[in-house]
């Protein structure tokens, strides 16, 4: 696809047309199967039509902010869960890392979400309503519950820096309890934060996203835990990271099983296997495998721990951007809209796919 500048002289465009036609003819003569978009002009790859070949759907207008948010939101949720786990099992170093991850992730998320709006100054209009039919509305309220709790839990970690006497001394003594309650509150909302984003993407007309609805929350949930475990492996004291290794294994398993089903969805799942989105998804899978295996062997090595953690974090980034890009590709190519819908309609009406007309 070419994004041409607007109002380009008509002559230049005509020459480009001519080049493309010549190219398509030349490629057909050489018997190579790749014309525009891997499709030859004269040999139908799949028998589908659309109005001037253009997308039936409007591709999402979400920018990479949203792909980034899928990552940071998941990271925040994973961080909160790890923080709570560490809190309840007496691992203060890991608890701190978990809580700071949660706060960092949710702060970045808030920024990215507001920044992506067409009218950022009106972000608070999200708080006018609560709608179960709008995953974005549900997500807004999940973030509204999670964010402050994660913030209080993380800031409570600063209490030891306060003076021991006076009013601040009182705050210092109170902080751990408040932090613990807030930490648990954030952990309660965390799984919803990490998995609702799967519904957010699935509840669209974008074929690759919508059809993946049974699997996407698992992919996102697993990826969220893996990313947060990765940050823990990088930043937490090695003596306290044993749970993270177990967590990485389970999280990778959840993500892998969900992702495998998603990638095998047939025609609609093609963007998860092909093109730039496919490469990103595959990179996510590979990094997840490498990171998980490295994590298992990193018990004694701080360096290997950090490297495995970095791989897990990178895997989550690649997965989120891959899924995001797959949706874009899926909405941009009318094939993914028209072919499955025609097949569904023909099946229902008992028509053979080749038959045209009513």
């Amino acid at each position: 696809m070419t994004d041409r500048p607007p109002n380009e002289p008509a002559g230049a465009r005509f020459r480009e047309f001519q080049d493309r036609v010549d190219q398509a003819v030349g490629q057909r003569q050489h018997g190579r199967g790749r014309g525009h978009d891997g499709e030859q002009l004269t040999v139908p790859v799949a028998d589908f039509t659309s109005y001037y070949g253009r997308p039936v759907l409007k591709p999402p207008v979400w920018k990479h902010d949203i792909a980034g948010y899928l990552f940071t939101g998941g990271l925040a949720a994973g961080g909160a869960l790890i923080g709570a786990g560490a809190q309840l099992t007496g691992r203060p170093g890991l608890r701190q890392v978990g809580r700071w991850t949660a706060l960092g992730g949710v702060t970045a998320s808030a920024y990215l979400l507001v920044h992506d709006l067409g009218r950022p100054a009106r972000f608070h209009h999200m708080l006018r309503v609560a709608k179960l039919t709008s995953p974005m509305s549900v997500g807004t309220w999940i973030l509204t519950a999670f964010g402050p709790a994660a913030g209080v839990a993380a800031i409570a970690e600063l209490a030891p820096r306060l003076p021991e006497h006076g009013l601040l001394g009182f705050v210092r003594r109170l902080a751990p309890t408040v932090g613990d309650v807030a930490g648990l509150a954030s952990a309660v909302t965390a799984p919803a934060l990490a998995t609702y984003t799967g519904v957010l993407l699935s509840d669209t007309a974008v074929p690759a996203w919508h059809e993946a609805y049974p699997f996407m929350p698992f992919v996102f949930g697993g990826s969220a835990l893996a990313a947060a475990a990765g940050v823990g492996l990088i930043a937490a004291p090695t003596a306290q990271t044993a749970p993270l290794r177990r967590l990485a294994v389970v999280a990778s398993t959840i993500k892998y099983l969900g992702g495998r089903r998603m990638e095998r969805m047939g025609l609609v799942g093609e963007p998860y296997r092909q093109g730039r989105s496919g490469r990103l998804v595959r990179a996510g899978d590979v990094l997840l495998g490498v990171g998980t295996v490295a994590a298992l062997f990193s018990r004694r090595s701080r360096v290997l721990s950090a490297l495995s953690g970095a791989a897990l974090v990178a895997s989550s980034v690649a997965t989120r951007f891959g899924v995001f890009e797959a949706g874009m590709a899926s909405a941009r190519d009318p094939k993914y809209t028209v072919v499955p819908q025609r097949e569904r309609r023909d099946r229902r009406e008992g028509r053979s796919p080749a038959e045209k007309g009513t």
Binding site: Y51, M126, R128, V129, S134, L225, R246
Partner: protein
Amino acid sequence: MPHANALYGPLDPAPDAGYENAPPRMGFFTDTSVCIGCKACEVACKEWNGVPESGLDLLGMSYDNTGALTANSWRHVAFVEQPRRAGLATPAFEQNPDGPAISPATAALGALTSVDTGTNPGLPTGSPGAAARMSAGPQPEFLGMPGAQPPGRGTGVEERTDFRWLMMSDVCKHCTHAACLDVCPTGSLFRTEFGSVVVQEDICNGCGYCISACPYGVIDQRKDDGRAWKCTLCYDRLGAGMTPACAQACPTESIQYGPLEELRERAATRVATLRGRGVPEARLYGDDPNDGVGGDGAFFLLLDEPEVYGLPPDPVVTTRDLPAMWKRAGLAALAMTAATVFAFVGGRR
């Protein structure tokens, strides 16, 4: 609590949205068999609703230089040129040097043009192959390439084709189950007492969710103000008992406005008439309350497959599956919790 058809199935949307004594549901029936492609609907819509300019350029898509429904084009007249076998004893244009029509090849070129519509995503480019098949129409094997020679030289009369021109004024479908409305997180999109779907521009914050949710690719975002815009079925005119601007301007009554029930009856009669007159390809699109979106408030009479006009062949409102989606998310959330519990208590410390 919501009833069985709240998300899917036949429904009268205005009473469902809470209106008491709602007026009958109003809508459009666009009969493409009498559309002459004058674009008076596009102009009238822009004039009445103050819709901004949407880029002025030649797109090479027959007479369509609008390209698509966007935030800056709430009516869009589609033009499709299709060569057809003449089916006459005397070949078409017998005395003239005409060869096979080049419509499919020009359509393929038209797929690659674009113009800055001032909106996002606006008018994305398309796939030339699919465009050629669109124009090839009911003869999929026929995909002529522009020749180096003048048309007709070196080809016999049997290669000559007749030609048909499909024109269709597209518009927001005002679905019974409108995905855009369902997913809007601000309540900016709402259901009117007439059953139509309208964006409140003072509420919309440009989140873009409606754009990804629309199964017809109708709603779109203006770049300069960041908000989503689409056809309002002239809500302001309806309230005053007037006809929407496009229907008012249509010189051939291709766009008919009225109570939806009445329009559906009229459309069924029209299809029967056309088929009786030897137009077997005439069909209705979006008239069935049992379809994937519960029937469209704006439905069409088409003369080819829906996708030829840029319409999805079998759209389903995405929120039909929403309960199942939340269920899966709930399961995934439980799996996350279980994974964390296992990690922290499952092994040695």
